[in-house]
Symmetry: C2
Subunit: 543 residues, 2 copies
């Protein structure tokens, strides 16, 4: 390798999730973040999506460390899978490392990791890379951005940030420190593009606190149930404070929420007054109780959805309950959330969601904040990261509208290899970086073919035709059709009988009957009769 | 039947779509609207959802007519299916009847219908029902609300409306006429609940016109491509006007759009300057061309999505194109729309969507407008219609907050039978009103079992195990496994080989081996190995 700086995003480009970026200089490599992505709804049956690690694993001898910006799953969630395959040193602030540690313990790979807690303004050296942290405001405490000084120049990686002036906990994005850390200018900026399609500024978290305060004051009769993301720890702190103010105890339901609260409290990131938390089974008067719950996305097994279904063991939703959905709906989850809300209303609750009140704001800055970041950093080169393709393009156009030369703004793909000598920049040969699909125990075994089969099965089901054939290639009995998901199988099923007749006719025609000809005959027959295209699989049984 | 008024919603409650309401008095029945619903994403493989018509068909001898509020598919789209089974007289304004006529012609059931065009302020008698129309502002011209005078009292059905003061075409909701038509008060109000979770007023359509004007002025270099709903005819008129103003010709792409424009123009509902429309193949300079397209929802075969995929025969998207998505994303379509937008950006277009500019507003009024409607009508009884369960509840609570007695506000379900003698109201025995699913040629044959099978197949695929067994119930050859959508079938497939071994072991155990025991063995085996639950179908083959 020649002495050049190479930046290789392995995930997070063209998608919101599985953020992972490699930086290389000579025989030295660092990795920033190592996240998972939750599957799109067209990834049928898939539980999780990982970045493809191969490049890192093949070059593990050069890896000087993995640096984490914050503890959200799309930034740390793939570590257990990576550490199944190699050892690594991992650096992050206290809460981030605490969350990683718990994950690695659960996955039984903790011994593979050397964990390093760093302060939010620490500076440390990993090979030729000098890493300087600066605090950023985001929806989880301990979030940082990175200034990475390299022999080719300084690289700024914003992590996830907003320029909230009044965030929960008062911890703002420290642009002053970012300026101090980059006295000689910035070679390349890698900046969060999530909200590049949102004009203006993201509303401050303080707005949410004010709105919740008002709703708490109005909910005088019954319980308050708030569903939010378990990882929105800054929001949880606000809710705890407001509960105390309004004389309500707080009970938790949902495993991830209980775990995160315990962890954040143990590490000093959540300040909970003594006696505020009560067990979910404790007897507390309705108007003195607040229940914090998982399930803002309508996830089937989440605590709030179990309440909606009437299947929650401790909480039966009833008239008088005020339920607040304090988490934005992630695109793709709208229908599930909608169904859950319908059921909660049916049970008599007053549900506050969506535009009814500002009970959620994004943790990512909008266009005006992106503009400020660009103006503060003034990079020579800019690489929009952390966004779908449309967000990357809009972020790039924003940079260009501020005067950057379009040839200095790089819209990369996962696996792109961006290289620079500190003066000019170019693209090297890309490295493999496809989606690695996790389905139950299977990691990486399920590919496009299986997903396409599932897609087709989901639309029209399948038919397996068992066809007994003798040595002279004649039909030697009644064909049997096995079907699911196509048409109702009980009842008269004239259609399947007619299909059997088609098969007999095919044999009578006297041509040599083969697997393919029967498949085509049946496919055509079913399409003609139903305008559907079930998966047809003939199986010729030699008798 | 005793002399009482009965109101029976057969669709549109607990859902946005397939609006259809029956009103009965003695041996007289009218139907208001007869729409379809587009399926939720968990209705695998379903093309359309119809209301269950059985009650209307059984009582067809009493039907005095079907009255339509406007020409959107969720209000007229089921008529071709209903008219396959019975004849009916249908009443609507010119555009509405025009759209119905085209549909019925296509479905070859026009001879079943007696079509009646009525004016937007007409009054006509259907048996004991006096129907008086009043104009409402909505996103399609010719929309009306209904005052239905019955011997029990007046019923107001709002249809779909907003109280836009500056709508496209200047046609506002005529509350003055509504007041005139109800001099003796209103017994029951059936009111649109779509936006019951949106505070304030729905922005005026004029805002969209202004924003489009600004965007047209900015797009000096290249083509403008606008995707919108083909049924948003009021918006189409604005766009045509602006195109003329900015010196652009208009080309249409997308069958539904071309058909609707032709129809609306023929009926006088669209005023298009001579020479404005050009063929999509016409040679026009980029900065003098506007392309109107279908596909605001990212539908796979829509014109805009074909452009995004590079598969549109006439239009290749390129740098310099400004693409405007002038249609809100229907919940459930977010991911498809997002993927389409990504591809359009990749092709170099500047795409305006979502919050980037106000290029779409809803055609339904928000909470403040609902409040005004309630205050104008002052009904004795109120029945929120046209909404998911959450919208009905929020609409009901709004009515209660304005002083209505909760016992006078009825949240009904499809099939509920609301009855009144003009003084009190109660619920009679409900009638059947489930979802009727259309899948290709199959209407009503696909039920929950098939949908559940498809859901399961979409997650984990299936395995059919062909097991040759002899007369003594012993394994008589190698079991064969046929699988799709579970694990990759090519390659080594250790898993399927291990499963064959499981089957042999099951037989060796010497117990009587049956279909069920093999299924359980395989299900347990696959779950243990993969944590997935494919559909397992053993087939025992007697040899």
């Amino acid at each position: 390798m020649t002495k050049k700086l190479r930046i290789i995003p392995l995930g997070g480009l063209g998608e919101i999730g599985k953020n992972m970026t490699v930086l290389e200089y000579g025989r030295n490599m660092i990795v920033v973040d190592c996240g998972v992505m939750f599957p799109d709804s067209d990834m049928y049956g898939i539980d999780l999506v990982l970045p493809q690690f191969d490049y890192v694993i093949q070059n593990q001898e050069y890896l000087r460390g993995i640096v984490l910006t914050h503890g959200h799953m799309d930034h740390i969630g793939s570590l257990p899978y990576l550490l199944r395959q190699m050892k690594a040193s991992i650096y992050g602030t206290g809460l981030t490392v605490g969350m990683v540690k718990r994950q690695l313990e659960e996955a039984k790979v903790l011994q593979q990791a050397s964990l390093h807690v760093v302060g939010e303004k620490d500076i440390f050296q990993l090979g030729p890379f000098k890493i300087s942290l600066f605090p950023v405001a985001h929806s989880i405490p301990g979030s940082v951005g990175l200034v990475i000084d390299t022999p080719a120049g300084a690289v700024v990686h914003t992590g996830d940030y907003k320029l909230d002036e009044t965030p929960a906990g008062g911890r703002i994005t420290d642009l002053e420190r970012l300026r101090e850390l980059t006295p000689n200018g910035v070679l390349a900026l890698l900046a969060d593009s999530t909200n590049a399609d949102k004009p203006g500024r993201t509303p401050t978290e303080k707005l949410v606190a004010g709105e919740l305060d008002r709703l708490f004051a109005e909910a005088t009769d019954g319980r308050i149930i708030i569903a939010t993301f378990a990882s929105l720890l800054a929001r949880l702190q606000e809710i705890m404070n407001l509960a105390a103010k309004h004389g309500r105890k707080v009970a938790l339901t949902g495993r991830s929420l209980e775990e995160n609260v315990t962890l954040a409290r143990d590490l000093g990131y959540l300040k909970i007054p003594n006696g505020l938390l009560v067990d979910i089974n404790a007897r507390v008067r309705d108007n003195q109780l607040l229940i914090l719950s998982t399930g803002s996305q309508g996830e089937p097994r989440s605590a709030l959805n179990r309440m909606a279904q009437g299947e929650h063991r401790q909480v039966q939703v009833k008239r008088g309950d005020t339920i607040i959905i304090s988490g934005g709906t992630i695109p793709g989850n709208e229908e599930e959330v909608g169904r859950m809300l319908n059921k909660l209303f049916e049970r008599g609750a007053n549900v506050i969601y969506g535009k009814l009140a500002t009970v959620h704001v994004s943790g990512h800055g909008s266009r005006d904040e992106m503009q400020t970041m660009l103006e503060v950093v003034k990079p020579k080169f800019m690489i929009p990261v952390h966004g779908e393709t449309r967000h990357l393009h809009l972020h790039a156009r924003l940079a260009e509208s501020l005067g950057m030369d379009p040839k200095d703004v790089f819209i990369l793909k996962n696996g792109s290899v961006w290289a620079t000598d500190g003066k000019k920049a170019w693209l090297d040969q890309p490295v493999p970086a496809v989606d690695v699909l996790v389905d139950g125990h299977l990691v990486g075994e399920i590919g496009a073919v299986v997903i396409e089969d599932r897609q087709r099965l989901s639309q029209d089901g399948f038919i397996v035709a068992l066809i007994p054939v003798n040595a002279r290639n004649k039909l030697a009995g009644e064909p049997e059709l096995i079907s699911r998901g196509f048409v109702p199988v009980n009842g008269t099923s004239d259609l399947l009988q007619a299909a059997q007749k088609e098969i007999r006719r095919e044999f009578k025609r006297g041509k040599k009957v083969a697997h393919e000809s029967i498949r085509d005959t049946l496919q055509n027959f079913f399409y003609r009769e139903t305008q559907s295209r079930p998966v047809v699989l003939p199986s010729i049984i030699r008798v």
